[in-house]
Amino acid sequence: MKNINPFFLLILMGSCMFSNENLAPDQQTWDYALPNQFDLSDKEFLDLNEAILNNEFKNINALVIIKNDQLIFENYYLDQQREDLNKIDNATNVLTSIAIGMAIDDGYLISIETPIADLLPEYENELSTDSLKKIITIEHLLTHRSGLSWDEIVSEDDIKEMMNSDDWVKYVLGKALEAVPGVRYNFNSGASMILSKIIENLTNESLSAYIDRRLFKALEIKKWLWTTDPLGTTNAANGLHLTQLDFTKIGYLLLKNGLWKDQVILSKNWIYESTSLQHQPSYSYSMGYLWFQFTEDRVNSPYNSKRAFYIPGNTGYHLYINPEENLIVSIGAKNYFYGLFGPSYWLYLLIMDLHRDNL
């Protein structure tokens, strides 16, 4: 036995050496769970996954579902990866709604009934073209009822022309009034550019810097991209790029009434007010402050949780927050032909079907 060469043992041991590299731990905002832990059917969600893979819902590239504070579904499609940044299109608008709430919390702004003319002295000329423009308030912008002429849903001409101009805020404010402010609904992403400029004037920092300081840092959102207009005003119309999980975090903050890891980021009162019904412009949806809600319409009634609200991005980046079910559905898609209520909307409705079937 003495002469047994231990070399073979060393080779064996050498082959067993391993590297204890510390991979960066995944940013774990939520614990992971399976649908069946919440009386949902795993199989039905696997079928749903298969349907998305088969492109039955057009061009969906991400789906994240948070149920009872746990992540029960996260998957990416069409070469999308978890860490990829995506332009969330006009879902960017709700960041201005959040920023206005924070500006009130921080004491920069007293009321959303403040006329925007008081806050935008540099656009005196544009606001003087019609005396009624001076009565446009922040609230009117938040509810898409500024009265400014705007075509975004049918032709997208205005959004395109705005983005080709040098000063986007000037372009929006320069539009003629076609209704008395506060009366008529007209979907207008450009109005968020005005809100972006207002935040800039109130806080002396751009909307993106303000949101980064007050929101993104608190939510540990480190990877983001936010474009600006040629003058450097943050593009609140459609310029924010986020990962799907970080997009979901914004919804989670609102679901938790503005509380994030025992820190108040946004006041509960503002969240309640901004996500509550302010007016109902359509049979199928009502509006808060840039947030949408389901109505009691016959088609939508099964999904009409009293407090549910959502933001439908034009290309399919949708975020649904349903406080009653403690549910968030965050969808990413790249659809350019369906408008606000395309495949992402249908996908949410199906998820609610699965949800209710199993209750």
């Binding site: 003495k2 060469n5 231990p6 070399f7 067993c16 204890n20 590299e21 774990q28 996954n49 579904f73």
Partner: protein, 206 residues
């Protein structure tokens, strides 16, 4: 730090190899060295086998290799474990990931009884390493965590007079510091048993 322990032990064994493989000019020195080890009751043992360890409610097979220096009734060495069986489950639903576990560490032992056919030992291992959820398709670690384990055990060696012996171990393992989604330390703590072969060199009398 554990790499230092491994390094020191490997250096020692490397020294043995060099000594054993030396040519005739140094054979005398080698013989003297082996004789010196024998005179000092220093030997070494190796164990290769499988642990059947608690893993998420079941016993799962782990490859286990121990190599230790012995001094009279005591032994000190290193141990290595790696999950052998493929264990996959939903982690981030609907994605299935594979559990990967590799640990290395030190093992201390003492001989507590000897008879003609059976020897008994009490060992305690402390090992640390990495556990991870791996994407089976991309072969990438999606989540990874350091983990540590304390493992007292009772070992019986059958047929101790031969260099190649049968080893049976029973013990308890307590996992600590595991931070991975969908699993926790308790999933890997509990009674275990182990079966393998042991080579006992140079101090068979212990």
């Amino acid at each position: 730090m554990y790499k230092c322990y491994f390094g020191l032990l490997l250096c020692f064994f490397q020294h043995l190899i060099i000594a054993q493989q030396s040519d005739s000019l140094t054979q005398f020195k080698t013989n003297n060295f082996i004789q010196y080890l024998e005179d000092k009751d220093i030997g070494w043992t190796t164990f290769a086998g499988f642990d059947m360890a608690p893993t998420m409610g079941n016993f799962q097979k782990q490859i286990r290799i121990d190599i230790a220096l012995t001094l009279k009734k005591l032994s000190l060495g290193m141990t290595y474990l790696s999950l052998f069986e493929v264990l996959e489950q939903y982690v981030i639903f609907p994605n299935i990931y594979r559990l990967n576990a590799k640990h290395g560490g030190i093992i201390l032992g003492i001989s507590i009884f000897q008879s003609k056919w059976i020897n008994g030992y009490l060992n305690t291992a402390y090992h640390w390493g990495q556990m991870s959820w791996e994407d089976p398709l991309a072969k990438e670690h999606v989540f990874s965590s350091k983990s540590e384990c304390i493992k007292p055990e009772f070992e019986i060696i059958i047929y101790p007079k031969f260099g190649l012996q049968l080893s049976i171990k029973v013990g308890y393992q307590q996992m600590i510091e595991l931070d991975l989604p969908r699993i926790n330390s308790a999933d890997f703590s509990g009674l275990f048993y182990s079966l393998g072969l042991k080579i006992n060199l140079s101090n068979e009398k212990y």
